[in-house]
């Protein structure tokens, strides 16, 4: 990729400076000093997949790799000196990068993919209502899922079983606070809803670990 988006202090502004490659649209924004998040979307032709989903999934996975390259370049980090988290889902790939030693987790989830039934398997009614109050019922389940998944990935736990213990305590216009009842850990996640996807990220420096 010969060009990367200009640095921007907010996701919304970064979206406006996204760069278009032959197959992907990428956008990125700084989260903290040396820490960036990038989102890439396969070209629209990936949606017209006649291979039973396989081609689309490969395109999504490639999008997450492109997002990682974009974020690493903007953060001026080499892959072997960075913490990188990647995620991909139908129609999008995301990456979060930070210097070595940081806790990093990112998730991207299509808004239409997550139902209230999914959300209430890993969260309480109160948590879903909290998210719903900020983004509305249509987007709440996907954002809830993305927030919990990002927190789980950043703290190195794995599996669906870790998601219920991460409780969403507060949701703001671009951030959310989560606390883990299993480990007493606490993280602040950033989030963005864009192009039909909920994207959430957790980037915590070593001092906050």
């Amino acid at each position: 990729m010969s060009a990367v988006p200009a640095a921007s202090s907010t996701p919304a502004a970064a979206s406006a400076t996204g760069t278009r490659t032959p197959s992907l649209v990428a956008r990125a924004w700084p989260v903290a000093r040396g820490a960036w998040v990038a989102l890439a979307q396969p070209h629209a032709r990936a949606a017209h997949d006649s291979s039973g989903g396989r081609w689309r999934r490969l395109a999504d996975r490639r999008a997450s790799r492109v997002a990682a390259v974009v974020a690493l370049r903007l953060a001026r980090l080499a892959p072997d000196t960075a913490c990188v988290s990647r995620a991909h889902s139908a129609g999008a790939g995301a990456a979060a990068v930070a210097p070595a030693g940081w806790r990093v987790g990112v998730d991207v989830t299509p808004l239409a993919r997550v139902t209230a039934r999914h959300a209430l398997t890993v969260a309480s009614d109160a948590e879903l209502a909290l998210v719903c109050a900020v983004v509305g019922a249509t987007d709440a389940a996907a954002l809830l899922w993305a927030l919990k998944e990002a927190a789980v990935k950043a703290t190195g736990t794995r599996g669906l079983g870790a998601m219920p213990s991460w409780i969403i305590r507060d949701v703001g216009a671009s951030h959310a606070d989560l606390a883990d009842t299993a480990s007493n850990a606490f993280v602040t996640a950033g989030w963005l809803i864009d192009s039909g996807h909920a994207c959430a990220w957790v980037l915590a420096p070593p001092a906050a670990a």
């Binding site: 889902s89 997550v114 039934r117 398997t121 599996g159 669906l160 079983g161």
Partner: protein, 104 residues
């Protein structure tokens, strides 16, 4: 919740579970084999595993707490690359365990 009685009474769940895997992951049925790794080969995401458990519930006609899937996988695959370890056969084994679990 009503179960498909022919499925519940049958000795093996390979075919119906393979069909579920194909439908949930939106891949051709022919690409789903017992050794297919759901993540590494078929592109499954975390939320897909919830849908698999939901569909196994419908297949068996009984509620399955998601914690049972977690317990099942943790017991077998601690320290293992889950992306490679969880195959169609693993889901079949889980479904068979749930099918044979005494009603409480």
């Amino acid at each position: 919740m009503s179960a498909d009685s022919t499925v519940v009474a049958g000795p093996a769940l390979l075919e119906p579970v393979s069909r579920i895997v194909a439908e949930v992951l939106m891949v051709p049925r022919g690409s789903v084999t017992p050794s297919s790794a759901l993540v590494a080969d078929l592109g499954a995401e975390s939320i897909d595993f919830l849908d698999l458990v939901f569909r196994v519930e419908e297949l068996l006609g009984r509620k399955i707490p998601i914690s049972r899937w977690e317990e099942f996988t943790i017991a077998r695959f601690t320290g293992v690359d889950l992306a490679r370890a969880i195959t169609t056969a693993v889901v079949v084994e889980f479904a068979e365990l749930e099918r044979d679990r005494p009603a409480t």
